[in-house]
């Protein structure tokens, strides 16, 4: 079990990886910081009950993904709600293709984005994505398939982009 005095040391090490995941999901540096901070806050609250031998970073990542999908907002934050989604960070893509893909990904719901990022950008197996999001493997397979079809139909995508990026 964790002692709150030990939390800060762990959090400093975990903040970087969590921020990277948050950035992939939100594609916005400020939103990513908010998401990482909210995740660390939850970890702090539950820290005494967390088994440190059982990979707390994995637990934190699960918390972060679920937090993103639930669309939770910190009440104190003066956030600007928009109907458009900013660019989504997907590394190692060609410029034109990545811009198109980001635009297409930006039109997905948070749940769909989380599935696509976890399954294809992070390359996690279906079972791990299911655990991450608290869903069944069948649900993940169905959502991933439906979301890919949605991306393929996206008018934002150049004909070859999706095949090159997500195949």
């Amino acid at each position: 079990m964790g002692d709150r005095d030990d939390f800060e040391g762990w959090a400093r090490d975990a903040a970087g990886p969590l921020f990277r995941h948050a950035l992939m999901l939100t594609a916005d540096r400020h939103l990513a910081e908010d998401l990482a901070q909210e995740t660390l806050t939850k970890m702090y609250i539950h820290w005494p009950r967390i088994d440190l031998a059982a990979h707390p970073l994995a637990y934190a990542k699960q918390t972060l993904y679920r937090q993103f999908v639930s669309g939770r907002r910190r009440r104190s934050a003066a956030e600007l709600v928009t109907d458009s989604f900013p660019q989504l960070a997907v590394p190692e893509l060609d410029v034109a293709g990545s811009v198109d893909l980001r635009r297409a990904l930006g039109r997905l719901s948070p749940t769909e984005r989380a599935v696509v990022i976890a399954r294809y950008a992070e390359g996690l197996p279906t079972a791990e994505v299911a655990t991450l999001l608290g869903r069944s493997e069948a649900w993940v397979r169905k959502t991933a398939s439906r979301t890919l079809a949605k991306i393929r139909r996206s008018q934002d995508l150049a004909p070859d982009t999706e095949r090159r990026s997500l195949a």
Binding site: F19, L23, E38, L40, T41, M43, Y44, S70, P91
Partner: protein, 231 residues
Amino acid sequence: MTDPTHVPLTPEETSALVQRAVRGGERRLRTRRIASGFAAVAVVAALGVGALSVLTLPGRAPIPASPPVSLSKAPETPTAPIPFDAGIQEGLETLLLDLPGVKAGPEEIADERPGGSYVAGGYLDANTPVTVTLSPVPLRDGDAKQVTSPPLLPEDSTFWELTDAASPDVQVWARERSDGATVTVRVGLGYLPHDEPNTPSIPARIDGVDVLKFLSSDEWGPLLDAVSAAQ
């Protein structure tokens, strides 16, 4: 190509992030302690019969907290008015957003609720409301289906999946603790006719497993303690 937005946190930013998280965590823990402390010292003295009032969300159709439908189990009416506690209300609203897929309503509800019960509302999608009710009193007797399957239900509680013959679109679950305190999750519009403005033709559904995990969370403990002790 490296994405220009994909720049890692600097050590200073990391430190600031961790500090903000710790402060936020401390603040929330303090709020919970206050809620629990309130419950421990609350003196309840008054007569009267409380009833859940109609919950109205801005720009939406009204959602009755005690709708005219025939649930086989339903919350009993508390017998004494209970002082309203903002900490419990805030805790309930915060926990509501832990339910997968649920977003806060267009305006968070902070009105006083009579009878010691607290209600928080959100939305599953644009049209499907989700209401969570925290009550100090047990459910009425009935023939609701008891949930006994996993996920790991706390032993101090009984879990129910409530049926509503009059409104099959409505999904209702409840956690009833042995001391009578209950949490009820209601998803859907219920009694409203489907030709009502803003009423969806096919309301969104929620996964029962998610609701059971949500109701099983040990974060309910302090809130259930609070309403139970105040009763």
